[in-house]
Symmetry: C2
């Protein structure tokens, strides 16, 4: 067995961190060109780089209005960054597993095979091809469905661009839009909302799940990953829908404009979009405080690994829910589908939640000092934006366009950490490659709470 | 090696849960007596039981004003419940370690000895005697110091009762007061605030730490528990003080009434009281939103195990901070004072934080639906109260006196779970004593965030 990292010139976390930094810088510079804006002025560096970070990290928070500020060129740059960001992260998230597979012993290899159903996807190239092929297919289908809606409204050229942009943005869970106020003006168009929902959910499940589902007819079994991801996603979508029906009274706030049936679709979308799509059909200033808290929780959870969604991920939540139940019942093992989760897996999941929590609290504390909260809001105005950035959800209660410079830097850092991964970035920053000591100190326990 | 729990008639978690439930019921019934109130009316069951829960769980949240509502008899009942609650939990928290010690093998026994410095404290009786003796000594000293302040103001009898009540309440981190508005009317009395601070900090460190410190002269070493508890407590007190100086501008809001030097003492007290004393010298409606978030975080952390404080505990935070740093640096082990923490210890700490987080979010979600938030507040109005109850901190932004029936039940449940322990209560509720299976399913990993 070889020492991980020795056989590559540059370790994977470094490639990811530096690669995406370079992409953001390049995108930011392109967006600074006068031809990128409708007014043909140069955009300030901080806003160009903020937009590039938001697009590459497929978040969707913006300090300038995408529809009003950027030209067709600028919007195309954003579109390309979203696509690279979306597909890039989706692929990269499973690379460690693939690279690992070649180096590790037979038992671990079998475990990975069982967990992820990797049989023929033996090398990086074929994974890349598979992901890109399937993703483009789904996005093309989505764009075609949107075109049916957009062609009568916008004609061929504009209709096509609108369809492609929103199919890509929805599938990549990017949260960008060309309507000027997200989908708020489209609340009366359930067809559009449902197509966007389907794209968002598909993107948020990730290609490991699609592959498993496509192969199900032949194989008659789903991997642990797929089972856990689908169960958790299902529970969150249905549970979220029911809770939002309750807390928002089926969006009674919309009553004047929209019929009850259409309000039902909009309420469903309230449960879909926090999983971290970021496109919204109703401004979050009209949502109840219970709905805001629920949205914050759903954003923090996010989608499935190997997808375009952010957050701590459905599998993390699923695993920890099962683990909690087992611990409280006094069971030794967490079982799911006749398998148990390894201690290392559980430890990593918990550590991830803890680190995310600390990061969100520290960022929140800084922003409560630097930013101004409007009279009628409280702490949620800050926490919503912090978690939206870190989960790369991209929804807003209104803070982002009014951010101070420090605020913009913090939100950009959160989007980057949230997308590239806390571990990955810290590995690069701390240059964590020092060899392990040859000895270990004796273990001790301390009393806990 | 024997199977744990088989040699006792009733397992420890059950004794704790049912014992404290019985104590709360008894206290609640006594408080319902007309002679317990100043007006000689019977107090409604829900408020009597709420007060009994708050006193026994040494929280300090109250739906009726302790000074104005209860008679000397009622206040004495509360005082006794605080003392039993405080000393009871302090002792009970180490009982599992002591009972474990007799049953386990030599290696584990040596580990416990190293960790907690248990050498002569071999049995339950001597631990009880030690805790009660030392606690009463500190409280007596505290009461004497308070009497110096209270005698000139209140005379002998009333001064004595005031001294004893507030010394007990402060040491037990109970948060009850007889001034009617916590210590708000005493903001100009730095002597009082500093004596209370000393009692709060002493109570929050717990008897394992005191014992270690008392034996230090002879032994010249501190246990891992004490080192970790003292370091974390020190960092939180000093760090909290500096941050509150910053966010509250040394309580400029108080300028009219209090000199800058005295404001400094009050700012220091802002850092002391969330660790979970609950006595306050300034209403939290006057604190900045950053200060509120900081207070919420400090309450959630709380004090040290084996003490009268609540929260996830200093040792949990200390361990997880060290662990996070190690993980981010790519180290295998978490080291502190030439010891490493066991994986089980780390797992338990993380699991605790996760469970507390889930509980607080679920409770918060229910309360955002059932309770009414005043115009000028946001989500923090609910979250502050939920975490205050669950950490048994007892500070309030004003919600508790206005709680609905459902709200009161949720806050009571949080105080009980927070004090008796989520694990302990769930063990009893779920009757978790079923034997382990003879086989284990194969382990698998799932991808995480
Ligand atoms: K997004
Ligand atoms: K308290």
């Amino acid at each position: 067995m070889q020492i991980p990292g020795k056989q590559h010139r540059m370790p994977l976390p470094k490639i990811l961190t530096l690669g995406f930094l370079a992409l953001i810088l390049l995108g930011g510079l392109l967006l600074m060109l006068p031809l990128a804006t409708q007014e043909h002025h140069s955009t300030p560096f901080i806003d160009a780089i903020f937009t590039a970070t938001s697009a590459t990290c497929i978040t969707g928070l913006t300090t300038v209005n995408t529809a009003a500020h950027w030209s067709l060129f600028g919007q195309s740059v954003i579109l390309i960054m979203i696509e690279i960001g979306g597909l890039g992260f989706m692929t990269f998230s499973v690379l460690p597993f693939i690279l690992l597979k070649r180096r590790v012993d037979l038992t671990t290899r079998l475990l990975i095979k069982e967990s992820l159903n990797f049989e023929k996807l033996a090398d990086v190239n074929s994974v890349m091809k598979y992901v890109i092929g399937l993703s483009l297919a789904i996005q093309t289908l989505g764009a075609a469905l949107l075109f049916i809606d957009f062609y009568p409204r916008y004609g061929l050229a504009r209709g096509l661009f609108m369809s492609v942009f929103h199919a890509v943005s929805a599938f990549c869970n990017a949260g960008f839009d060309l309507f000027g106020n997200s989908l708020e003006s489209q609340a009366n168009d359930p067809y559009l909302i449902l197509v966007i929902s389907a794209l968002v959910i598909a993107g948020g499940l990730g290609f490991l799940v699609w592959r498993d589902l496509l192969l199900f007819k032949r194989r008659r079994r789903l991997s642990l990953h797929t089972k856990l991801a689908l169960s958790t996603t299902g529970v969150l979508l249905v549970g979220g829908f029911i809770l939002f029906l309750l807390t928002e009274d089926n969006l009674a706030v919309m009553a004047a404009q929209v019929s009850p049936g259409k309000r039902l679709v909009n309420t469903f979308f309230l449960a879909v979009t926090p999983r971290t799509a970021g496109i919204t059909t109703i401004p979050y200033s009209q949502i109840s405080i219970a709905g805001i808290l629920l949205t914050i929780v759903l954003m923090f959870i996010g989608g499935t690994p190997g997808s375009t969604a952010g957050g701590i991920k459905t599998t993390t939540l699923g695993l920890l829910t099962l683990q909690s139940w087992a611990v409280l019942r006094g069971n030794r093992d967490v079982e799911f589908g006749h398998r148990r989760f390894s201690d290392q897996n559980i430890l990593r999941a918990l550590m991830l939640v803890f680190l995310c929590l600390v990061l969100v609290i520290v960022a929140g504390l800084i922003l409560t000092i630097t930013e101004t909260i409007p009279e009628r809001y409280g702490l949620e105005y800050i926490i919503f934006e912090v978690i939206s950035a870190f989960s790369t959800a991209g929804m807003t209660m209104g803070l982002t366009p009014h951010l101070t410079i420090i605020g913009k830097l913090i939100i950009m850092l959160l989007m980057f950490l949230g997308r590239v991964g806390v571990y990955t970035v810290m590995f690069t920053v701390l240059n964590a490659s020092h060899p392990q000591k040859g000895y270990r100190y004796p273990a001790e326990n301390v009393m806990l709470g």
